[in-house]
Every structure is written in C-alpha cells, then in structure tokens.
Symmetry: C2
Subunit: 257 residues, 2 copies
Amino acid sequence: MENSKVVKAAILIIGDEILSGRTEDANLSYMAQWLGQLGIQVAEVRIVADHEDSIVDAINALRHAYDYVLTTGGIGPTHDDITSDAVAKAFNVPIDYHPKALEILQAHYEEGEFNAARKRMARIPQGGVLIDNPISVAPGFEIENVFVMAGIPMINRAMLESIRHRLVGGAPVRSRVVAAHLAEGAVAERLGNIQLRYGRVSIGSYPYYRSSHFGTTFVLRSAEQDDLAAAFDDVVAMIGDLGGDPIFDELKVKPVK
Amino acid sequence: MENSKVVKAAILIIGDEILSGRTEDANLSYMAQWLGQLGIQVAEVRIVADHEDSIVDAINALRHAYDYVLTTGGIGPTHDDITSDAVAKAFNVPIDYHPKALEILQAHYEEGEFNAARKRMARIPQGGVLIDNPISVAPGFEIENVFVMAGIPMINRAMLESIRHRLVGGAPVRSRVVAAHLAEGAVAERLGNIQLRYGRVSIGSYPYYRSSHFGTTFVLRSAEQDDLAAAFDDVVAMIGDLGGDPIFDELKVKPVK
C-alpha cells in the first residue's frame, strides 16, 4: 500500500576534502535518485568539515526538520574520523564499543592486525543499530532517524542496500523531461501560466548553451500521475506554439556542464 | 600585505535539480579551489530547493556565521527563479528594477524581445551592487557579504572573475599530498601522533581501493609553511617506516570514485 505522505530526507556530507574542492562528491546524485525511487525526496543537503561542533549542529538541525537524515564520511579508523562521536554528542548519549561490531571486525582481521585504531570503528552511540558493510566490514549505524554511513562510494552504495528495508517512503515522485532550442526568456510567461494551472506539479526550467544554440530543458515532477501527464502535454504544446521542436531523448536533454 | 586571519565562506547552491540527483553540481569543486587560492576557506555548503523559506533561512544562517556567502542558481527569467526575491526577504529590504541592470538587459535584446520575464532579471534587492555577467548579460548582485550568482558553470566562473577584487582573503592555505599502498587502519596510530604534534596543520587521510590494493591518500593543509613542511616530512617518514612507498604524483593520488 502506497503512503501518500511526502517523505523528506536530508543528506549530510562530512569531510574537509569535499569542502576544499580537491575531491568531488560522488554520492549525492546517486543517493538522491535512489531515495527518490523509494518515494523519499531529498529536501536539503549540507556539507560540513571534520569538526565536531559543525557536525553536531548539522545533525540536530536536520534530524528535527526531516523524516530521515543520511550522513556520509568520517567513520574510519583515523584521528579525523569523528562522525560517530559527534552523533553521540548530538543525541546526548554515551558511545562505546558495540559487541557485535567488535565481533565482526575481530573476525575480519588477521591476528595482530586488529589494533586500537581499527577497534575505534566498533564504537557506536548507545541505541545505535548496526548497518551492514558487505565490502570492508566496518559497520555504519542507525540511531532514531539518522543513518550514518561510509563516504567511499562503493561502500556507501552497499550500505544503502543494507538499509533499504528500514526506510518507509511516500508516494513516489515521477518526472517527465523535454527540451527545446528555445531561450528561457522566450518561454517564461507561458511556462509560468502552466505552473499556475498545475499546483501539484513542480515545473523546473534549466537553460543550456550547446552547439551555439540557446535552449531550455523542462523537468516536471509530481506524485500525481494524471496532473503530471496533463502538464507535460501542455509544455509540449507550448514548445510547438513557440516554434520549437520538442526533444524527448533523455540523453540529449541531459544538462551540459 | 597578507591578512593572517582565517577567512571563511559558505556556498549555497539553490535548485531542485541538484537535490533530485538528476543534475550533478558542477560548480562546488571549482569555486572551493578558486576561493582557496584567494585565502578563503569554504567552511560549509548547503543545497536547498527553489523554495522561498528554505532559501531565506539558509541565507540568514550562513551570512551571520561566515565572512562571505556565495550563492548559485535561481536568478533566471522563469517562475522557478526566486533567489533574488528570497535574498531581499532575508535582508528585509524591498526589491525593484535596478536602472543599470534594466539598461544592460535592454541593450542586449532585440526590439520586442525584452519581455516581462526577461525584465524580471533586472530586479535587485535594495542596496545590491551588480555583478557583471560577460556571457549572457543578466547580472548577479552583491548585498553586504552575500554574492548572488548564476548556476550555469560558464557564467558562474565569469562572475567569479567579476568579484575577485571585492573579496579579501586571509593567509592562503597550502596543501601537500602523498599516498601509499597502506591501509588506513595500519597507519592510524602513527598518523594521529603526527597530528598531535602539529596543531596548526590539518591532516586528512582518505582510503582508496585500486587495482586490488588498499591505500590511503594523505592531505595536509596549513597556512603555516614551516609547520606544513615539517609535518609532511613526518608523514613521508612514517610511510617508509611502515614499509610503504610514498607516491607523490598528484595525478596518481587523485581519489577514485
């Protein structure tokens, strides 16, 4: 049975490397689309440094504002991995070695390799429920509505599969996309009128320049199938009326960087 | 004369398309590195929807917390471009057509093409100072410590050049990078000790898996050149002591997605 409630999530990306620009985030787009398929809309993203107060403040702001919070990064064995401690502080609970996490890690390492730094990865805030990591074993954890996961994309994706059954989505939001070699400024008035007629459809327009053409990509989103189809027909009709040719090929309407 | 103060900025990315995951942000990494070269550290990033309250709240939180706020997105001619209005609301000032912006836009369009939607792009919050857009003319604007810019990467980059002389950076933060085929868990204790010795150097470690090797990239950052050099030497010595070969080639130590 489908839930008709809009379910919203925030993603919190933790790491100096993303903020410095040296590393490009490689999880956000994947996570947002993956959550979207479960009927969960990403409503906000924050990126903060490996700095305790910044993480605590972001966790507390986001967990009260949204149904779910998913975090990435900062749960490894080194001194700059402080996410678990910060989450414990945000929830005002103690943090300690989790027996099951210790057991999983102990079994994974050779005798003598399970040093103090690696043991740190078994520290979980009180009340945390482990998230399986089928790639490199060290678990994430869930506490209330916050899911704490690794930042390495391969591990992040595996952890998402581990939590899939724990997330309850709302009505899935579908999208329809069409583009045309028409400037945004030429379509804006008509497009605004279509938006006014369909309050339950979100209509976005995104300009592009390509092969010396101005153009606009139109992305329509809604949980209401009938409204979405009707609004889409109106946008396609508008394109024709303004002398454009609608481009339906999803690959061709991908935004250009 | 170099400013020794740490200067911090936040980036606010505005747009449903980034949150949905359909479009990958293409500005953050460039902007962060560009600001870093001016001695301005990006301390926080937020991504919010094309939704007035979300933009207002983010602007107000960030402009009080950081020296500068740079926004991208939402300043075009269509109904979903609401950034300028939201910024006016955040500053509690009126918004109206800016004579110079109107003049620039009017001169750009052919007779009859300068319609109401395009005129909207000349609406600037009271007190806003225009930011030149040498690509597609429609300006951004600066109000107090907030710089409102376009999201299209080509235009965003051009606008950054337009504001370069208005930003005052602190001591530039330099970085040194080295990698080794050593697991994070094997280096963590020694690395933590190096971090303890150099309080003014930020040492980050980033695990990778490549060609079936575990490895770690070490990124050291500091505004203090001598400390940076000394800490870097210690990390390189640590790699040798642990049986690794330091990899200095920046291309080879780029993170793998």
